[in-house]
C-alpha cells in the first residue's frame, strides 16, 4: 500500500506543466528558461541573448544608482474622453492594464542619480496598452521635462511604445504637439535631453518627442520607425529588407547617435551625462 501511494504521488508531479511563475519560454530560441536567471541577466535570455521587455520598474532599477530613485509620477489617470468602445470598452482595457502592471498608465516619472549625476527620467512600459501615448502619457512626459527644468537636471526619456493611443482619438494625436512644445522649453533652459529608444519606438512617439533628443541612443535590438511593415505593405505593397527599422537600419541612415547593449546602458548614460556636468 505504501509503495502504491508513493507512486501515485510521483505521477501527479510528472504530469504537471512547469510552474509558470518560475519558468518562461524564450520566444526567440524556444528554450525554457528559469525566470530568475533571466531577471538577473538584465532580462536577456541566457540561452540565446534575446532581450525581453523590461517593465518600467525593472528598467529604472537597471539604470539608476541604487536607492536614489524618487517617484514623481503625477497622480492622474485616463479619463476616456471619447467614451471609446471597440470590441471592449477602453475603460476595461485600462483597468486590465492597471491590474496587470500595477501602474496607473504606461509611464513612470522620477528623479534619480546615475553614477552620482542627478537626472529626471520618464520611462515607458510597453505592457500597458502597447506603451501607447494618450493624454496621461503626454502629460507625464511634459511633467518630467518641467521637473527637469525646475531642478536644472538633464531629462531622459526611455521610449517603448507602439505610438499614439487610438482610443483617445485626436486627444492622443495632439500629445505629439504637446510634448514637442514642452521640449522646446527644455532647449531654452539649456538642459540636455537624452532619448533612449527601445523595442519598439514607433508611430506618434517616434514622430514627436523621442526623435528630438539632443542625443539619441538605441538599445540593441530596438525597433525604430514611423510606419510599420504592415501599413507599408497594405498601402504601397513594397518589399522591405529584413533589417528594416532595426537598430542597425536606424544607425545606418543616421536616425540615432549610437547603439548600446542593455547591460551597458547605465555606464553609457553615466559617461554621457558627465559631459554636461557644470554646463550653464
Amino acid at each position: 500500500m505504501a509503495i502504491f501511494r508513493e507512486k501515485e504521488y510521483l505521477r501527479v508531479h510528472v504530469d504537471k506543466e512547469p510552474d509558470e511563475s518560475l519558468w518562461m519560454k524564450c520566444k526567440s530560441c524556444g528554450e525554457l528558461v528559469f525566470k530568475r536567471r533571466v531577471r538577473d541577466n538584465s532580462n536577456i535570455c541566457p540561452e540565446c541573448g534575446e532581450y525581453f521587455f523590461l517593465t518600467a520598474t525593472e528598467r529604472i532599477e537597471m539604470l539608476v544608482d541604487e536607492g536614489s530613485f524618487v517617484d514623481i509620477t503625477k497622480p492622474i489617470a485616463s479619463d476616456d474622453p471619447l467614451g471609446f468602445v471597440d470590441r471592449r470598452p477602453y475603460v476595461a482595457r485600462i483597468d486590465e492594464a492597471q491590474a496587470k502592471t500595477g501602474l496607473v498608465d504606461a509611464i513612470v516619472v522620477g528623479a534619480a542619480t546615475i553614477d552620482g549625476t542627478p537626472a529626471v527620467l520618464a520611462v515607458m512600459d510597453f505592457r500597458f496598452i502597447g506603451g501607447s501615448m494618450g493624454s496621461v502619457v503626454g502629460e507625464q512626459i511634459c511633467h518630467g521635462i518641467e521637473s527637469a527644468i525646475e531642478r536644472r537636471h538633464p531629462f531622459i526619456l526611455v521610449a517603448s511604445s507602439g505610438g499614439a493611443r487610438l482610443q483617445e482619438g485626436l486627444f492622443s494625436l495632439l500629445q505629439m504637439a504637446k510634448t514637442v512644445s514642452v521640449r522646446g522649453r527644455l532647449a531654452e533652459a539649456g538642459l540636455p535631453f537624452v532619448s533612449i529608444m527601445t523595442y519598439p519606438t514607433s508611430g506618434g512617439v517616434q514622430a514627436s518627442i523621442a526623435s528630438l533628443g539632443d542625443v539619441i541612443i538605441a538599445e540593441r535590438g530596438a525597433m525604430i520607425g514611423f510606419a510599420g511593415r504592415r501599413v507599408i505593405k497594405d498601402t504601397i505593397a513594397q518589399e522591405l529588407p529584413e533589417h528594416f527599422q532595426t537598430d542597425a537600419f536606424a544607425f545606418e541612415h543616421g536616425a540615432i547617435d549610437r547603439v548600446v547593449a542593455r547591460e551597458e546602458m547605465r555606464a553609457e548614460l553615466a559617461k554621457l551625462l558627465g559631459f554636461f556636468v557644470g554646463v550653464r
Binding site: V104, L166, A177, K178, V180, F226, A227, F249
Partner: protein, 318 residues
C-alpha cells in the same frame, strides 16, 4: 453614398430640360421647377444627418477641392517655392508666398492629384520627409520675415515606404512640430479634406485650427482602427463613429476653433461659395491674430498645446 448617383442623374435631367426649354421655346419651366424641388428635397434627405462614415467619404470624394484650388481661388499672386535644399521637391506638399487681405502670407498645403498621372507626382497627397523638410523651410522663412502662415491640410497620412523611413520621416514630422510651436508669426491651420494622423498634424500645430464641415481629422483611418481594434475590416462605420473624427465632433470636444460650413453634398457642389466662406474666416482669424503682440501670441500657443488632453486627478495618496 450610392444615392449620390441618383442626385447626379436628376441634376443632369434638369439641365437637359433647361436646354430644351431654351432651344425649342417650349415652356418647361413648370416641370423644371417640380424636379428642382424634388432634387432639393432628396438632397436634404441624403446630406443632413450624415453618418460619420459618410462624411469620411465626402472628405475623400474625388471631386473634392484640393489645396491648390483654394490657393488659386482665395489668394493673389501665389509664388511657389520649391525643394527641401537637400534632396528633391516633394510635390505632395506645395508652399509659397501669396497676397491675402493686404498682407503677404506663406501658405503650405498638402496636394492630392486628380488623375493617375498627377498622382504619380503628388503621391495622393502623402508627403515624404522631403516634403516636410520643405515645409519646415517655409515655416522658418515665414518667421524670418513676419509673414503669417496658413496651412491647408489634406492627406491620407505621411508616405509609408522604405525610402521615407530611410530618410527618417518621423523626425521630419517632429521637427515640423517643433518649428511650428516656436515660429514668431500668427499661424492658422485649416483641415480642408483628410486630416490623416501624424502626417496631417505635422502642419496642424497652429494658433487657430479650422475645419471644413465635411473634413475629417483623426489619429488613424477608420479602416486602420477597424483592423487593429475590432480585428474586423467591416467595422469601419463603427470605427469612424468611435474616433470622433468629424468637424462637429471635434468642435464639441474643444479640439478645433471653428467649422466652415459646406454646401449640401460637400465643398465640390459649390466650390466658389466654400472658398469665399473659408477666405472670410481666414481674414477674420488673421486680423484678430495680427493684433496680438508676438510674445503673447507664442505664449498663448504654448499654453494651448501644453494643456491639451483629458485626464482625471487622483487623490494624492492613491
Amino acid at each position: 453614398m450610392s444615392d449620390e448617383r441618383t442626385l447626379d442623374l436628376l441634376e443632369a435631367k434638369i439641365e437637359e430640360l433647361r436646354q430644351l426649354d431654351a432651344a425649342d421655346g417650349i415652356d418647361l419651366s413648370g416641370e423644371i421647377e417640380r424636379l428642382e424641388k424634388k432634387l432639393e428635397a432628396l438632397r436634404q434627405e441624403l446630406y443632413t444627418n450624415l453618418s460619420d462614415w459618410e462624411r469620411v467619404k465626402i472628405a475623400r470624394h474625388p471631386k473634392r477641392p484640393y489645396a491648390l484650388d483654394y490657393i488659386d481661388e482665395m489668394l493673389d499672386g501665389f509664388y511657389e517655392l520649391h525643394g527641401d535644399r537637400m534632396d528633391c521637391d516633394d510635390q505632395a506638399l506645395v508652399t509659397g508666398m501669396a497676397r491675402f487681405d493686404g498682407r503677404t502670407i506663406v501658405v503650405i498645403g498638402q496636394q492630392k492629384g486628380r488623375s493617375t498621372e498627377e498622382n504619380k507626382k503628388r503621391f495622393f497627397g502623402m508627403s515624404r520627409p522631403q516634403g516636410y523638410r520643405k515645409a519646415r523651410r517655409a515655416i522658418e522663412f515665414a518667421g524670418r520675415f513676419g509673414f503669417p502662415i496658413v496651412t491647408l491640410i489634406d492627406t491620407p497620412g505621411a508616405y509609408p515606404g522604405l525610402e521615407a523611413e530611410e530618410a527618417n520621416i518621423g523626425a521630419a514630422i517632429a521637427e515640423n512640430l517643433l518649428a511650428l510651436s516656436r515660429v514668431p508669426v500668427p499661424t492658422v491651420a485649416v483641415v480642408i479634406g483628410e486630416g490623416g494622423s501624424g502626417g496631417a498634424l505635422a502642419l496642424g500645430l497652429a494658433d487657430r485650427v479650422l475645419m471644413l464641415e465635411n473634413a475629417i481629422y483623426s489619429v488613424i483611418t477608420p479602416e486602420g482602427a477597424a483592423a487593429i481594434l475590432w480585428k474586423d475590416k467591416s467595422k469601419i462605420g463603427d470605427a469612424a463613429e468611435a474616433l470622433n473624427l468629424t468637424a462637429p465632433h471635434l468642435l464639441d470636444l474643444g479640439l478645433i476653433d471653428a467649422v466652415i460650413p459646406e454646401p449640401l453634398g460637400g465643398a465640390h457642389k459649390a466650390f466658389q461659395k466654400t472658398a469665399a466662406d473659408l477666405a472670410a474666416a481666414l481674414k477674420q482669424e488673421l486680423a484678430s491674430l495680427a493684433d496680438i503682440d508676438v510674445d503673447a501670441l507664442c505664449e498663448a500657443r504654448y499654453d494651448r498645446y501644453r494643456n491639451v488632453g483629458r485626464y482625471r486627478e487622483l487623490p494624492p495618496d492613491a
